[in-house]
Symmetry: C2
Subunit: 137 residues, 2 copies
């Protein structure tokens, strides 16, 4: 997909210099925040076509069909764009109940705590699935 071939709704997005946009996944019913990852035009276009979240893995430099290894697919219910056209929200149904590769519901499981002796990040969400089992599928 070349830049020139983009349909208007994709052209209207302000992509980074690397051609990416941050995409926040949120439970479509509870509003719970699940994760944030990145999309390029191809992955966003495919997400819409396939009605599931497909990200761009910056580390692997390849499409990342969320759930392809773990089964924890994110079904799309709605896509939102912000006022500056540079952030996407995906309202999703999280299959398998787990979004995080650590086996937790949400990736945002570290809470900033004041210990009285400074601040620390504390894990506050339970591990629902053993990651070893998740990635055997």
């Amino acid at each position: 997909m070349t830049e020139n071939a983009l349909p208007l709704w994709l052209e209207q997005i302000k992509w980074t210099d690397d051609g990416l946009v941050p995409a926040i996944a949120q439970d479509y019913q509870t509003g719970e925040l699940l994760m944030m990852a990145w999309m390029n035009a191809e992955s966003l276009s495919l997400s819409v076509q396939e009605n599931r979240a497909i990200y761009w893995s910056r580390s692997r430099k390849s499409l990342w069909r969320k759930g392809e290894s773990s089964g924890n697919v994110q079904q799309l219910h709605e896509i939102r764009l912000d006022c500056d056209n540079d952030v996407i929200v995906l309202k999703v149904k999280q299959l398998g109940n787990v979004a995080c590769h650590t086996g937790r519901r949400s990736c945002f499981y570290k809470k900033l705590d004041n210990t009285g002796n400074g601040y620390t990040w504390t894990d506050v969400e339970p591990v629902l699935k053993d990651p070893k089992e998740m990635y055997q599928q």
Copy 2:
């Protein structure tokens, strides 16, 4: 603030090459997504000290005390970090009920719609305050 002087909880964050981290603001009660902006170590540290969201404006290259012009301050209730240490969530109380500079509750007011003749972004959230009035304060 130099990189060496960072306390551990700030050092544990994976900052971008520009020294930034994306910060997602979410209503601490309803779970509603309000906006995403960027923070550097100084703005995050000040946010914690002052118990309000202080972002780093990439366009103005300066601290952005959310609400300093509009009065729409975001009071901090909780800060979360994700599994990869590269995204922050701020659970906030949105004073003035409006997070967006357009006068809407949330910045994510554009919904992707299938018109039958292709996709389009449709504004689906009401303007609660006239932006002209918001920024006269």
